[in-house]
């Protein structure tokens, strides 16, 4: 184990905290796994291209006790208005704005763990591979489970439309770098609907690290639209994992935008457990400087007649490094599955690097699947066409790279949000060397 892993393991509490026995048992299992294996290393297949150098070189401390949020600290303005907004600073809920719409319940997780929330225990215990897998590949999840307590429970009652919920994540810079572990549990009951917008944007160039695990359970016919917008500083480390479980006819759509961050890793897995369930996973990542963004997606087709559609676009300039790994696994019995995977990348610099890998395993019949991954340069014919109309070469290239990424933001159902995000992308668009 690395020095950092040893140090973090030593910082874990011995008593597994307070709360019901099952919570303490989960923490214990997480701690045990973490002490045995620590954080992931490049020897783990899924971390082959992503090292934790940015964490190792800091004296990072595990944030454990509930620290009092600094009052008066400001969160960045929300990208768009939301009916209800939760501001989370340094892993703690700072404030909640707006009135909770009918059907929506947002609770601090610590409170929910001590109460009787239907389905919460099952959801937390369902997280695959924390206990089973004996490797360090899920070290961050193990650490997150070992410190389970801070975070949110989001519940949408059956048949209700909760509208848009915004979670505004941010951390404060400080003399000491700290690692925050947060868990978000989402239960969207039958035929209920939620739009979750996550905004990650720390001010003051925070050098903290966040390790966030999100688990979502979608009942029959439930709809969850999940937008994840990240524009952290180049010192920020953000490790997130999203696990989605889908019942029949449910619809999960994900839109991830990585515009910043120093070291960013996102693992997203959806499990299609009931027939007719749909999942759409879309994302764009823009890198320059020494940024490193790693997206790992996986769709488990378990039930028959489900569909999944993945669409990622990336632009890498400077010495940026992007990793994109998408896996589709069609289990025996998942007949009639439709699955597409598309990933295209533009390299703007000779020093930038993109590692993209689509994986597809099929053990069922009548499956329609397609996948494609490309890494290339801008279309020079298009550059000339734009220049021949008066745009400078720089403007032409910027317009084309933005358009390339815009194909992702244009998929958003809210055109206003799509416009705001595409403008943000244009503002940070990496330049060609």
């Amino acid at each position: 184990m690395s020095e950092l892993s040893t140090q973090l393991a030593a910082a874990l509490p011995q008593d597994f905290g307070s709360g019901p026995d099952w919570v303490r048992a989960l923490r214990g299992a997480g701690a045990e796994q973490f002490r045995a294996h620590g954080l992931p290393t490049r020897k783990d297949e899924s971390w082959k291209y992503t090292g934790l150098g940015l964490l190792d070189q800091r004296e990072i401390q595990l944030a454990l006790t509930a620290e009092t949020p600094v009052s008066g600290s400001t969160h960045p303005a929300p990208l768009v208005e939301a009916a209800f907004q939760v501001n989370i600073l340094d892993g703690r809920i700072l404030e909640q704005n707006g009135t909770q719409p009918t059907g929506l319940t947002v609770l601090p997780l610590a409170e929910a763990l001590n109460g009787e929330v239907d389905g919460l225990q099952a959801l937390l215990e369902s997280l695959p591979d924390t206990q089973k897998e004996g490797s360090s590949g899920h070290g961050f999840t193990a650490l997150n489970t070992a410190t389970l307590g801070s975070g949110l429970l989001i519940h949408v009652a059956a048949g209700t439309d909760a509208g848009r919920l915004l979670i505004n994540w941010s951390t404060l810079g400080g003399a000491v770098s700290r690692l925050f572990n947060t868990r978000v549990c989402i239960i969207v009951e039958q035929d209920a609907k939620l739009e979750l917008l996550e905004q990650f944007e720390s001010q003051n160039g925070s050098s903290n690290a966040c390790n966030i695990v999100m688990q979502a359970d979608l009942g029959e016919g439930a709809v969850l639209q999940h937008i994840r917008f990240q524009q952290e500083s180049e010192d920020a480390v953000l490790v997130t994992r999203t696990e989605v479980s889908q019942q029949a006819d449910s619809d999960y759509s994900h839109y991830g935008f990585d515009l910043g961050g120093g070291l960013v890793r996102h693992d997203l897995r959806t499990s299609l457990k009931g027939s007719g369930a749909k999942t759409g996973i879309n994302g764009a990542y823009l890198l320059d400087g020494n940024r490193h963004v790693d997206n790992h997606t996986m769709v488990d087709h378990i039930a028959p007649g489900c569909s999944s559609d993945q669409y990622y676009r990336g632009v890498a300039g400077g010495s940026g490094r992007a990793v994109f790994n998408t896996a589709v696994y069609v289990h025996p019995g998942a007949d009639g599955t439709e699955a597409t995977q598309s990933n295209a990348n533009i390299l703007l610099s000779a020093r930038a690097e993109v590692d993209t890998k689509p994986e597809l395993e099929i053990y069922a019949d009548e499956v329609i699947a397609s996948h494609g991954a490309t890494v290339g340069q801008l279309d020079e014919q298009a550059v000339f066409y734009l220049r021949s109309r008066g745009l400078s070469e720089k403007e032409a290239r910027q317009l084309l790279t933005t358009a390339f990424c815009r194909s992702v933001s244009d998929k958003l159902t809210d055109p206003v949000l799509g416009e705001v995000i595409s403008q943000r992308m244009m503002d940070v668009m990496p330049q060609a060397d």
Partner: protein, 264 residues
């Protein structure tokens, strides 16, 4: 003289395509350039617009007194040169209106004119569409993406109408068009004819010249002008083809050779 091309030599992929081309165009004139395939017609258009991959090995091009070959493609555009592409490029994700406004404002900025806000721009655009009898659906689409051949060419003419160039070069704008699309394109071009605008219409067929009547017709063959005449030259070419180029030269065709002025 708006455009003066003197002894232009150019290579494409190491092969000499233009071999001493001379051409003069005054403001207000429309010249047609015809000729067999491979004669260098499109090469001329692309060199004027500044496309990469064309190596000028000799000669010069003066545009309103400026050395055109020293200018970047965008500078040429801002100076008033417009090439209507033979194969307009599809640009997914770039909205046609957004692109055109960015282009117009880039040109206005270059000329020291104030940029147009989106309201004034939209007003201008609607005016042009009306004059050209083009529907406004192409405003909302990505540049040329999924356009039919006719729509692409119409979009080129529409861009030309909005950008109001001083020198417009139409590179085989008629190719692949049905008669209705051809008429729309020709009408658009005719509406843009003016005293201070020059046009070069590159075409393989005479058909377009039924609708756009040129002041001069040049025959480009083997990298230079083989003949120059009035609008009637195009008709003769239609009847007799280009076989005379190999058969026995210009004398076999009942016209005067290049360099001599033909009264229109």
């Amino acid at each position: 003289m708006m455009l003066k091309i003197t002894n232009l030599h150019a290579k494409v992929a190491g092969k000499e395509i233009l071999k001493g081309l001379n051409l003069e165009l005054k403001a207000g004139e429309v010249h047609a350039i015809m000729g067999p395939n491979g004669a260098g017609k499109s090469t001329l258009g692309n060199i004027l617009a500044g496309r990469e991959g064309y190596e000028v090995t000799g000669g010069e091009i003066l545009f309103n007194g400026k050395n055109l070959l020293e200018l970047e493609p965008e500078e040429r555009a801002c100076e008033g040169v417009f090439l209507a592409f033979q194969y307009p490029v599809e640009i997914p994700g770039v909205n046609n209106t957004y692109f055109l406004r960015a282009a117009l404002n880039a040109q206005r900025k270059y000329r020291g004119e104030p940029e147009l806000d989106s309201v004034s721009f939209l007003r201008l655009v609607r005016e042009k569409l009306k004059v050209l009898h083009i529907g406004d659906e192409l405003l909302h689409r990505a540049v040329n993406e999924g356009f039919s051949g006719g729509e692409k060419k119409r979009n080129e003419i529409f861009q030309m109408a909005v950008l109001e160039p001083t020198l417009a070069i139409l590179d085989e704008t008629d190719s692949g068009l049905d008669i209705d699309a051809l008429k729309t394109v020709a009408e658009g071009v005719n509406r843009l004819r003016s005293e201070d605008r020059g046009m070069i219409v590159i075409t393989h067929y005479q058909r377009l010249l039924d609708y756009i009547v040129p002041d001069k017709v040049h025959v480009l063959a083997d990298g230079k002008l083989a003949a120059t005449g009035g609008a009637d030259l195009a008709l003769k070419l239609e009847e007799q083809g280009y076989a005379w180029l190999e058969d026995g030269g210009i004398e076999t065709l009942d016209i005067k050779p290049a360099g001599q002025t033909v009264n229109p």
